[in-house]
């Protein structure tokens, strides 16, 4: 764990260039919508923004952190350094995930300020597990494909199909989303959240094993 000291988030941010700001832009648009919308369906639309835009953006940095590794082929140099695979993968991805959660909670808090009947606890139980799953799914897809386009396409296709079918049988793939219309927690949704966390952890382990076994 001594290698945690070698983390340099400001450098990683600079090296990502403008790509770094995409999750902030998505969350900012969500916050603006919550603040200015007067639609009677504002809760339902906000839920959709959370599930189909804000949560999936948890995968963004997990993928872009490896852009230089695989697209620029820096992996050959970086993996020859005295650093563990755990550092290259889980530690870097999780650090950026924590950064993402800070922005994400800003969005959740804005929702609860604007709509006091919605509990921050409920929002956290519903949506944070989804972000965990997307974060490590992005990581695994990136280290598996070593290409930024493949994981982006998979995620966009999955989210698009889920939005279109609203979790119906036309696209019989596991539903990460709760499709909640009131953003309130229920027993069924607690089960979904636990499943999402477990799947997220499984993806983290798979990604770590891939990066440990196959360096270039």
């Amino acid at each position: 764990m001594a290698s945690v000291k070698r983390l340099d988030l400001p450098f990683e941010i600079r090296s990502m260039g403008v790509s770094y700001y995409a999750p902030f832009v998505a969350i900012l648009l969500g916050v603006i919508y919550v603040c200015v919308s007067s639609s009677p369906d504002v809760i339902r639309y906000t839920s959709n923004i959370l599930e189909f835009v804000a949560c999936p953006f948890a995968a963004w940095w997990s993928m872009y952190l490896f852009y230089d590794y695989y697209e620029e082929r820096a992996s050959e140099v970086l993996f020859s350094y005295p650093l563990s695979s755990f550092f290259h993968g889980i530690i870097r991805v999780t650090s950026f995930f924590i950064l993402y959660l800070i922005a994400f909670f800003t969005f959740l808090v804005t929702i609860t300020i604007k709509h006091p009947d919605i509990s921050l606890m409920d929002l956290s139980f519903l949506y944070v597990p989804q972000t965990i799953l997307y974060c490590y799914l992005g990581f695994t897809l990136m280290v598996l494909s070593r290409n930024i386009i493949f994981p982006l396409l998979i995620l966009v296709a999955y989210i698009g199909m889920k939005y279109w079918t609203m979790g119906g049988n036309m696209f019989p793939v596991y539903n990460v989303m709760s499709f909640s219309v009131d953003m309130k927690i229920s027993d069924e949704l607690i089960t979904l959240s636990i499943q999402n966390i477990i799947i997220g952890i499984i993806f983290a382990i798979i990604g770590h094993l891939i990066i440990s076994k196959r360096k270039i």
């Binding site: 990502m16 140099v77 970086l78 993996f79 270039i216």
Partner: protein, 284 residues
């Protein structure tokens, strides 16, 4: 200086044996020559711990085993054939980050980077972004990152590929200088790279090491076996399997070739390229 010993090292990919029972020592400034597909890059990747060998043993000074990957990585500096990273940051920022990743503390790293940038002649470009550098400058950043932490073993894969003639000469001189006080392994298919930068040579052919030793020993293998004479194009074509080089001279050609039998006129002083061609063509 360090001595790296390889003992019966094997590596296969998809049932194809890439490296076969490699047993030899790497010391001083060592040039690994071989045609494309000989297994050079695979061997470099094994030596840099990026891929494991299927079997065999690698040690440094008969003490440190390559099984201790983490320790080995702290002793090596590596410049791969393709070097490009962090295009959005400056040279100095990039090297500082890489130094920290290597475990050098920031204040010490800044001093070291200044020194290295001077050594690779990039001091005045340190505020340039990586994406603004020419191919030669990028290679020099690559060698600077490999030298961070003053590694005991420097490994450079295909050092001059993609460089123009001027940059090539400059880079060879730099490698020559770097090889004075440390063990340096240069892998290449360009004979000139090795001739100008290395004292020891290894030749890899189809995954097997067919020669290791000093440059003089390699040249001695073909002493008395090379002839140079003026021939017509038809005469040169008739012995094309033996030809080393052809230079057009008015209506005839000056042909340098290997002789099959003893010939008192075969007294041309041999070069590394002659010996390399002799060994790699043998058995074809």
């Amino acid at each position: 200086m360090e001595r790296i010993s390889l003992k019966e090292v094997n590596k296969s990919y998809q049932n194809k044996q890439i490296l076969k029972e490699l047993t030899f020592n790497i010391q001083g400034s060592f040039g690994l020559l071989g045609p494309n597909g000989a297994g050079k890059t695979t061997l470099m990747r094994i030596l840099t711990t990026l891929v494991p060998a299927d079997s065999g043993e690698i040690t440094m000074n008969d003490e440190l085993s390559w099984k201790n990957q983490h320790v080995v990585r702290s002793y090596i500096g590596y410049l791969p054939q393709h070097f490009s990273l962090y295009k959005n940051v400056t040279v100095a920022e990039c090297l500082l980050h890489l130094a920290v990743l290597k475990g050098i503390n920031k204040s010490k790293a800044k001093e070291e980077i200044d020194h290295l940038l001077q050594e690779v002649n990039l001091q005045e470009h340190k505020k340039k972004k990586i994406k603004q550098l020419s191919g030669g400058m990028l290679r020099r950043v690559g060698i600077a990152q490999a030298l961070l932490g003053n590694p005991r073993l420097l490994i450079v894969d295909e050092p001059t590929v993609g460089l123009d003639i001027e940059e090539r000469v400059r880079f060879r001189n730099l490698l020559r200088k770097l090889g004075v006080n440390r063990t340096i392994l240069i892998s290449t298919h360009i004979v000139e790279d090795v001739e100008m930068t290395c004292d020891y040579i290894g030749i890899l052919k189809q995954g097997e090491i067919i020669f290791t030793g000093k440059k003089e020993k390699l040249k001695a293998l073909v002493a008395g076996k090379i002839k140079e004479e003026l021939l017509t194009m038809d005469e040169a074509d008739a012995i094309q399997d033996q030809v080393i080089s052809v230079k057009q001279q008015e209506d005839k050609c000056l042909v340098r070739y290997f002789v099959e039998k003893e010939d008192p006129q075969a007294n041309v002083s041999p070069t590394i390229e002659d010996a390399y061609l002799y060994l790699t063509r043998k058995g074809e």
